[in-house]
Symmetry: C2
Subunit: 200 residues, 2 copies
């Protein structure tokens, strides 16, 4: 996620974000000093500090915009006139892609250094979860998800997943992080499909 072409930023600012995105994904946020972003982007340090108060604000900016864009896409998918399961597939794919970007390393290693960014990240996560819950509730009303599933339970499951994400042994048992993400999503979404009661 995060399509910079949609943001209409000044050239230099776009360059900075673009470069930082690359570097952060490759090495993790905390390993990349501001000066390296600037050097790699071919932009002076002063220009960086013109557009962003500091590295945290840059990260916040990227996450916020990326989050907005993924919400937009989420809404688009919901509005499509296709079966529930197809929507789920699209959403899973989207989730997978955005998680590949705001990936393991990218996010996690920075939290230990910056508590407020961690808070911010979790705020975005919460909002994201809430959207998913609405989606499920709506699907329940339409009979696309079994009605005896308590949304609160689903919420608890999602909270547990936040803990699971910190379980390195678990994560490492997957060949890559996306596989893990897919597993989680498969569990959440395909695990709550209406149980087959009779042939149709």
């Amino acid at each position: 996620m995060l399509d910079l072409s949609k943001l209409n930023l000044p050239e230099k600012q776009r360059l900075i974000v673009d470069t930082a995105l690359d570097l952060f994904q490759q090495f993790g946020i905390k390993r990349i000093p501001v000066e390296e972003i600037c050097k790699t982007a071919g932009v002076s340090k002063m220009t960086f500090y013109k557009y962003f108060k500091n590295k945290n604000e840059l990260v916040r900016f990227m996450w916020e915009k990326g989050f907005e864009q993924s919400l937009e896409k989420f809404d688009e998918i919901q509005a499509l006139d296709i079966p529930f399961e197809k929507k789920l597939q699209l959403i899973l794919k989207m989730k997978e892609e955005s998680t590949a970007k705001i990936s393991h390393q990218f996010a996690l290693d920075y939290f230990y250094a910056s508590p407020d960014l961690k808070d911010f990240f979790e705020k975005l996560s919460r909002e994201s979860i809430s959207r998913f819950l609405s989606f499920i509730k709506n699907a329940q009303e339409k009979g696309e998800v079994r009605s005896d599933l308590r949304p609160e339970f689903l919420l608890a499951v999602i909270n547990i997943i936040k803990i699971m994400v910190k379980d390195e042994a678990l994560i490492n048992s997957y060949s890559n992080y996306q596989d893990f993400v897919m597993e989680v999503n498969n569990f959440i979404f395909y695990g709550v499909l209406p149980r087959p009661t009779s042939e149709e």
Copy 2:
């Protein structure tokens, strides 16, 4: 390259080298502080400094041992009773593998910080080149490489390649660094095969 099992190091030292190898390859040498190697390896800092004077010495150690092992393998290949072209294929494969390890990032980003390591790396490179030249000369004597090729020219070509390696635009035009390495090797070795004069 660099098979730690062959080195018979004390457990903790092996752990340190093994861990450092991983981290350096993933993030580059300069991005990994000694303390992170220790934490990741689950070894105290004092133990690190017991086995290595500093990070440079660790890097030097790894390069030296890796270089020794690759020379051994090089000699083994030369001693095999197989056609010249088969040997070349094996050597190319070996080169490719060892370059994948002492890779782009792994080596290059550190040179700017540590000139003596750069010197050391280049010393190893020179020795390596010299070995290759002997190999070619020997092949010339056997009529496996065209005799009108001047080894000095080959040396010059190899020196130019050292400059080429610093040409980021060129490197980036390959999808990955190994592809570039293969290209270079293909040029050097397959470009000097005896020209077909008549059918045999």
